[in-house]
């Protein structure tokens, strides 16, 4: 309760400071819109459904791309951890591509897929896949061999060991990899949306882009707030339950 109060007070003070700064009229309100103007934009945009539909378009792209990235990264990471050949080839490729900001894929994606949803999806998948792959690889590689040995003595073999020992044992790594993958996917999608206009749907990035073109900084600021909020919610909804589970079982801080 006390913590909630402190957090609320902190953010209230932050908004107040913002408001006072705008009231001081050091910068033109065109450059720095106040919380009231931003609030007004958000309220209006909520009422006409524009914000919701843009958020939905963005989240749909993110979810689908992220899911594909995870579903591919998980088995591939397990494979590179278990095979030297795959590690020397696919593993090195993944390591290299992970360092590439995935927005760098946008020009190629546009040529390959056109100005389409597929191009967006491709960029998100590229943002997710490699970091998930590398984390899973790491997790499986750092697995204490005693777990699989113990499982073997109890009669566990092959797929059973994979499903019931290797996968859960590498969970701390897998979760942190999925979290990192999520962050990369989110960043790359925003960059791609600002960069490329798609007629098939306006996402949050497009709203930012249009806001800039229309010189509507209250729109830009408002959408930024929404993006932050979605990021926070995703963290709380998608990852916090897993991290709590890890903490309870492993006794880890994370």
């Amino acid at each position: 309760m006390k913590r909630l109060f402190i957090a609320t007070a902190f953010f209230a003070l932050l908004v107040l400071a913002w408001h006072l700064l705008v009231r001081a009229e050091i910068w033109s309100p065109v450059l720095l819109p106040g919380p009231a103007a931003v609030g007004e934009y958000l309220w209006a945009s909520l009422l006409d459904g524009g914000l919701a539909s843009s958020s939905w378009v963005t989240l749909k792209r993110l979810m689908i791309g992220y899911l594909i990235g995870c579903l591919a990264g998980l088995p591939l990471g397990m494979l590179t951890a278990r095979s030297n050949t795959l590690n020397d080839t696919l593993g090195v490729l993944a390591l290299g591509l992970q360092t590439l900001p995935s927005v760098c894929w946008v020009p190629l994606a546009l040529i390959w897929f056109g100005q389409s949803e597929s191009a967006m999806l491709f960029v998100v998948v590229m943002g997710t896949l490699w970091s998930v792959l590398i984390s899973v690889d790491n997790g499986v590689r750092n697995l204490p061999p005693i777990y699989t040995r113990a499982a073997r003595t109890m009669g566990s073999t092959g797929f059973h060991t994979l499903r019931h020992v290797i996968l859960p044992a590498s969970m701390p790594y897998v979760i942190s990899g999925m979290k990192q993958g999520w962050a990369f996917a989110w960043r790359s999608l925003m960059a791609a949306e600002i960069y490329v206009t798609l007629l098939s749907g306006y996402g949050l990035g497009h709203l930012l882009h249009f806001g800039r073109e229309l010189n509507a900084m209250e729109q830009v600021t408002g959408v930024m707030l929404v993006i932050v909020l979605i990021g926070l919610l995703a963290d709380k909804i998608l990852f916090s339950p897993w991290e709590r589970f890890l903490h309870r079982r492993w006794g880890l801080n994370g």
Partner: protein
């Protein structure tokens, strides 16, 4: 052994040796060894590190395969790990993603012929046997070292193996906890008539637990001497009679490794 009327040994380690390859070439970890263990016998393997005792245990468990020779259980060659020979490791090797009950259930789920309720009943029975019936839902990291090894013991016992292979299971525990576990293990192995191979470098521990103590020496690892322990059970590790025999074995151990 040569008497055709005698029942076959529960475990027969028949002319087994094991060579490992490392960066400096081949290392003979265990020289050619033959050893027969009777049904219900508690055999302790003692020796300094590198004497091949753990190697031998891994060969019996099926986690490793011998370079030459074979391991027989009830006359059948051991070809891999199996739940009729359960292993207890020095590190508890419990799974942190499962709670205490889940860990004991792991091996039971791999055993055919039990439904879900029976499995839980069996797991609870063994957890009660090791005195942990109140910790079914606890996470492994919440338990003390002694409690973890108790869970590991329950996990090893639950699939009802005929043979129990223990690789220095109490080495990392404090003396008080260890003594309690000596008492528990003697009680359980006597009641359940398990055949046990128990690896340790602690001679008193071996004398306290074993019907027979087998002495190993390193470079290359091999059996040097055997001692029958005829002391009455249950044994207390602080019993003077036990100390006398332990002293004798320790002297023999020193003479072989000097």
């Amino acid at each position: 052994m040569n008497d055709p009327q005698a029942p076959p040994a529960k475990l027969l380690i028949d002319g087994v040796n094991k060579t490992f390859r490392n960066s400096r070439g081949e290392v003979l970890a265990l020289d050619t060894t033959t050893l027969a263990v009777d049904e219900g016998e508690f055999v302790c393997l003692v020796g300094p590190s590198g004497c091949g005792k753990s190697t031998l245990l891994n060969l019996v468990s099926g986690l490793d395969t011998p370079t030459h020779g074979r391991v027989l259980m009830d006359g059948n060659p051991v070809t891999g790990p199996g739940s009729e020979r359960m292993v207890m490791f020095q590190e508890h090797a419990l799974f942190p993603w499962l709670d205490v009950l889940g860990n004991v259930l792991f091996g039971l789920k791999l055993k055919p012929g039990l439904d879900a309720k029976e499995r839980v009943d069996v797991a609870k029975y063994y957890l009660k046997l090791v005195g942990l019936e109140r910790f079914l839902k606890a996470s492994i990291h919440e338990l003390s070292g002694g409690m973890r090894q108790r869970v590991a013991l329950a996990r090893a016992l639950a699939p009802n193996p005929r043979v129990l292979l223990m690789d220095e299971p109490f080495a990392a525990l404090d003396a008080m906890t260890r003594e309690q576990l000596y008492a528990d293990l003697q009680k359980i192995s006597a009641a359940q008539k398990k055949t046990v191979l128990f690896v340790t470098h602690n001679v008193r521990e071996a004398v306290c637990l074993g019907d027979r103590v087998i002495l190993f020496s390193p470079n290359p690892g091999r059996i040097r001497e055997q001692f029958k322990v005829a002391l009455p059970r249950p044994r207390d590790i602080n019993d003077p009679a036990l100390s006398v025999l332990a002293g004798e074995i320790t002297r023999a151990l020193k003479s072989h490794t000097a």
